[in-house]
Symmetry: C2
Subunit: 347 residues, 2 copies
Amino acid sequence: MSTKRVTSHDVARLAGVSRTTVSFVLNNVPGMQISEDTRRRVFEAARQLNYHPDATARRMAAGQTNVIGFVLRQSHEQAFADHFMPQVLSGLSQAASAQGFHTLFEPIPPGDNSGTYLRLINERHADGIVLSGPRSDDEDLLKIRAEGAKVVLLGQLPDSDIPFVDVDNVGGACMATQHLIELGHQRIAMITNAPLAYTASTARLAGYRQALTLSGIQSDDRLVRYGNFTPQSGYTAMNDLLAQELRPTAVFVASDTVALGAVQAIRQVGLRVPEDIALVGFDDIPLAEFMDPPLTTIRLPALGLGFGGADLLIRLISGDEVNLTQIILETQLVVRDSSGANLSIRK
Amino acid sequence: MSTKRVTSHDVARLAGVSRTTVSFVLNNVPGMQISEDTRRRVFEAARQLNYHPDATARRMAAGQTNVIGFVLRQSHEQAFADHFMPQVLSGLSQAASAQGFHTLFEPIPPGDNSGTYLRLINERHADGIVLSGPRSDDEDLLKIRAEGAKVVLLGQLPDSDIPFVDVDNVGGACMATQHLIELGHQRIAMITNAPLAYTASTARLAGYRQALTLSGIQSDDRLVRYGNFTPQSGYTAMNDLLAQELRPTAVFVASDTVALGAVQAIRQVGLRVPEDIALVGFDDIPLAEFMDPPLTTIRLPALGLGFGGADLLIRLISGDEVNLTQIILETQLVVRDSSGANLSIRK
DNA sequence: CTGTTAGCGCTTTCAA
DNA sequence: TTGAAAGCGCTAACAG
């Protein structure tokens, strides 16, 4: 602070070599035959002066920032509603730092279409971005792609060749529904996690229908309701379902958070989970395990999503030949009590 | 991508001025009298060429990165266990971007003492850091401070003059306990959020005792148990308390997550919340509202914590005269059903 | 009011 | 095996 910054020049002088040599030694540049003695002197001088190369200058010279941007296009509340995003972020930065990259965290205020994240690329703050919550009406995304920027999406955009990493929503929903079918249920309702404008929502609904079809069960739209991220929406939707003349014996709720409200609604009319109505959730939020009853649900590879996104992006940046740029990660069924699986065993 | 990068030189040429003028115009440097005509020509040229100043070069020349680092010293699981950190991060990046700063997200793998975050400063990746989860045995922290780096802590370090922003844990715990006292309870137990090695834990315990003392209630260590972040720990602790010869009539659990387990334990022995045992939590996690019963708890200014941290740091970086560098933010009592407040009214 | 010029600290080609 | 020198793109002190 008080003293001037130590530069490679200082190190060179102390070691009695040129700055070039310092750079070669400290960066361990391959193909350079430098005498053991020189090498040692350089290291010693650097240590002695407490020298640290200036990242900015290095970027300047290298023409690369070694930074990836993580752009959150969703509202923050929504993004972090389900404990999912922190894990994604964790995986992302893990993968990044493993490859010597840093992570710039860039949430976009909802409704901000002023191209905030374009600047990340245009002004070269980062070498590329991982974009969470892509929307098909995002003009910035098209623009940025057209300019050849490196972008990886977390989640899919229909009919697009943009590289992405996503979770297998269809497969997960199918697995959840099949689990209920295997337990003997025929009249299975579904509550979505969100309105169908969200692709994840559509995909989960598709998985539910797929499972029914595979088992020869007629899917019935009167058994489908739409959630909206919150427990309240689950409560409302479930009440609606319970008012049906022919009540479902099981329900697949495509979000644990929404399921929370659904369970409440079921209880309130004096029915029990899973004895009267079996329930499977989706997401495996940390609290799913501690709900009453503990929730059978679908676990998503959140860490893997972030890790995969960063990894893919960095390979794109590095110019590696990447053969697979659209990746879908498998989900996992976690059986607890709410589906009644343990109940059947007990009998 | 394909074509070479557009530089201020190109803009200057097209506008028929020098690079200096371009810089002055585009940065709107005060005190420069530039003709309206020139100004317009520069803007036009920049627009036409789709010019964007290179952040790296700019940093190089300015000697400042306009980046703050957010360093997470806790384990990720722990950091994000309670929905708190995402909000902090949100507030942080809001404050940062409002002042033209970007946020570098830097989680430290637990047990990593290799000075990973020292490099953030030493190599000038950032102008300063906000450090979450500081520990008194953190040598890197002392070192970095000694070198004059700008650091703001989220949370306190006893007997230190390092700038920090923290939540009023003592006040919050006191408020929670007083709420129970006001409802007529005398025999009030407490379960901490974590072992006492954590300063937040100690502070909350202190607040609990303070409230008792203020009301002339003898505090009794047999009524204090230690949680450990998880519902399980709350379950165990509560069971332990229930086994006492003289059962408490109320319990203050210094973490909503831990409270979840406590409620379970109470239910399991056939008692009701709040009729038999009143309960107040801490943190106001999003699910607190949807627990059964909805949890009375203490809300923390998570967004404000992050915002305040970034704001303070940036003022420190800018060299502003900052008179108050140790900030404590107020908490808020959120009354729901678990404390029995609404119950009393009903009667 | 505008242009010249000298850095910022590093990498890397080319020559010695 | 090592060194000299040319950038990277921008800012800002100083001249004009």
